[in-house]
């Protein structure tokens, strides 16, 4: 009985971490399908979201600080696209990857200078670090529910946006066939900026909800980007909803690895499974062969 609860505890902690990977993976996918860029600076949006919110929360109520952080980081995302990617559409995918890695390092440096190397965190949204809820015999923090609910809302709203609104459909049309989308009157360059902004916004929101649990630190972005990338690949690049399942898988795998093997093995486990998946299904679990980016057309 006791060990059953422990299993559940690991599972829940895996799902919590995994839902953050899922958000990073969704951001990867959004940007990749709209612009063809594999954005390894995606994790920095999560870090910046947390950092900005922590600072704002000193002056304004928490909900306002969260909204402010999301808006500010979204603007940073738009700005990055306008400054670095708008003019570089013809560059090879490798160049662009290197640029995003460079940006990730620069953003970390900027964060280090704007703030410092200290670990900080937002207050728990409800309750505090010792309040727990009982769930099937496992003790969980209410913040975990905040994380899961926020991620669920992000996923549902994004789905509605892409599927049922004109700008969302225009974004998908632009990924599907940029020339034809332009001929229909869609300003593709602005759509790409919007994809960066959206991606940054959801990353920042994830960075806020997770902050009370995992803390916020200027170096937290890079590992998130790698795990989020793995999640996107496992799920199938080009399919934002598959990214969610990919993210949850990576999180749960990691949690179980930590529970059974020395902590240092958790990345090894995740990437061993990633490689295995790619051997069996080169396009990920739910990706389609041919569901590639705009850049290859």
């Amino acid at each position: 009985m006791e060990s059953g609860n422990l299993e559940l505890q690991y599972f829940l902690s895996g799902i919590t971490k995994g839902s953050i990977y899922a958000v990073v993976a969704i951001g990867f996918n959004l940007i990749y399908s709209a612009t063809g860029v594999l954005n390894f600076a995606q994790g920095e949006f999560v870090m910046l979201g947390g950092m900005v919110a922590v600072t704002l929360a000193r002056f304004v109520p928490l909900p306002v600080a969260l909204a402010g952080a999301v808006v500010i980081v979204a603007l940073v995302g738009c700005l990055l696209e306008i400054l670095f990617f708008r003019r570089l559409q013809r560059h090879s995918i490798l160049h662009l990857v290197i640029i995003t890695i460079g940006l990730s390092i620069v953003l970390q440096e900027i964060a280090l200078h704007l703030w410092d190397e200290k670990v900080r965190s937002l207050p728990y949204f409800t309750g505090n670090e010792i309040s727990t809820l009982k769930f099937l015999g496992a003790a969980i923090s209410p913040q975990v529910l905040w994380v899961l609910a926020t991620v669920a809302v992000i996923v549902v709203l994004l789905h509605i946006f892409l599927k049922y609104t004109l700008p969302g459909r225009a974004m998908r049309a632009g990924s599907s066939n940029p020339s034809a989308a332009m001929l229909a009157g869609i300003n593709i360059a602005n759509m790409r900026t919007l994809a960066f902004g959206l991606s940054a916004a959801i990353g920042a929101l994830a960075g806020c909800v997770i902050s009370p649990i995992t803390m916020t630190h200027y170096e937290m972005g890079a590992p998130l980007a790698i795990k989020g990338f793995a999640a996107a690949i496992v799920g199938g690049l080009g399919n934002p909803m598959a990214a969610v399942l990919g993210g949850l898988m990576v999180g749960v795998l990691e949690a179980y690895s930590v529970s059974r093997l020395p902590a240092a093995y958790s990345d090894v486990t995740v990437f061993a499974v990633l490689l295995l998946v790619l051997f069996v299904r080169p396009h990920g679990f739910w990706g389609r062969p041919g569901g590639e980016s705009v850049r290859e057309h």
């Binding site: 459909r169 066939n177 034809a180 332009m182 229909a184």
Partner: protein, 239 residues
């Protein structure tokens, strides 16, 4: 004059493929633009809408100069290009493809009913993915998508490409119907006979230049037209 092109030059890299072409299309006309493979027809259309930046020349749509503008603005001049190879949004449904066609048309919800009435097949297939339509159905979708913007002038790039003869006839009949309802059409084609039958006037291009122009009925009997195709080693399209 709905469309006027003067002395247009364009190309790729340092290679010029259109060498100073002038042409015009008046309201209510169907104008054919004929030429063998590689003559530069598609390049000409692309630079008219801004997908390819013209090197030189003037373009006026409905009296307004449009040269140098971004491609996504071309639609605001009531001009729509139906590109070569249809360019359907494969992973959007038929309905979504049409709605995107009406992206700049605030009355798109009403217009889609008009398009559905015109192409009942598209209504039947409304929730099917664009990429799963047959070639002929995709051509209908491409035409329907263009009509969603309520254009005054349509530029059609080889709408009969790859279609069976029966379907080709249907597409050409549709073009005539659209003209009869007030649309103006610039029709780029390889199918010489069918084009000259529906067109009022036509231009014949050869390696980047216009070598002939005139009334469609006169060109029908002009041996030079045939030479422009066969002389370039073009396939036999003269029935």
């Amino acid at each position: 004059m709905l469309l006027q092109v003067k002395n247009l030059r364009c190309g790729y890299g340092s290679l010029e493929v259109v060498h100073g072409i002038s042409l015009h299309v008046c309201a209510g006309e169907i104008v054919g633009l004929l030429g063998a493979n590689g003559a530069g027809k598609t390049s000409l259309l692309k630079s008219v809408v801004g997908l390819l930046q013209p090197w030189q020349g003037e373009i006026h749509v409905d009296g307004r100069p449009t040269r140098g503008q971004a491609a996504w603005r071309s639609i605001s001049h009531s001009m729509v290009l139906v590109p070569e190879g249809k360019m359907i949004f494969a992973d959007l449904t038929v309905r979504e493809n049409l709605l995107i066609g009406g992206y700049r048309n605030p009355d798109r919800a009403m217009q889609i009913e008009i398009v559905f009435d015109r192409f009942p097949l598209l209504r039947e297939r409304a929730s099917q993915l664009g990429g799963t339509l047959s070639g002929g159905e995709q051509q209908m979708l491409a035409l329907g998508r263009a009509l969603m913007a309520r254009p005054k002038i349509l530029l059609l790039d080889e709408p009969s490409l790859g279609l069976a003869p029966l379907m080709v006839k249907e597409v050409f009949d549709e073009i005539v119907r659209m003209r009869d309802q007030g649309l103006t059409v610039l029709l780029v084609e390889q199918n010489v006979t069918a084009t000259l039958q529906v067109a009022d006037r036509a231009y014949v291009m050869e390696t980047g230049d216009i070598i002939l122009e005139g009334q469609a009925a006169d060109l029908m009997h002009n041996p030079e037209v045939k030479r422009a195709y066969l002389g370039k080693g073009g396939k036999e399209i003269w029935e």
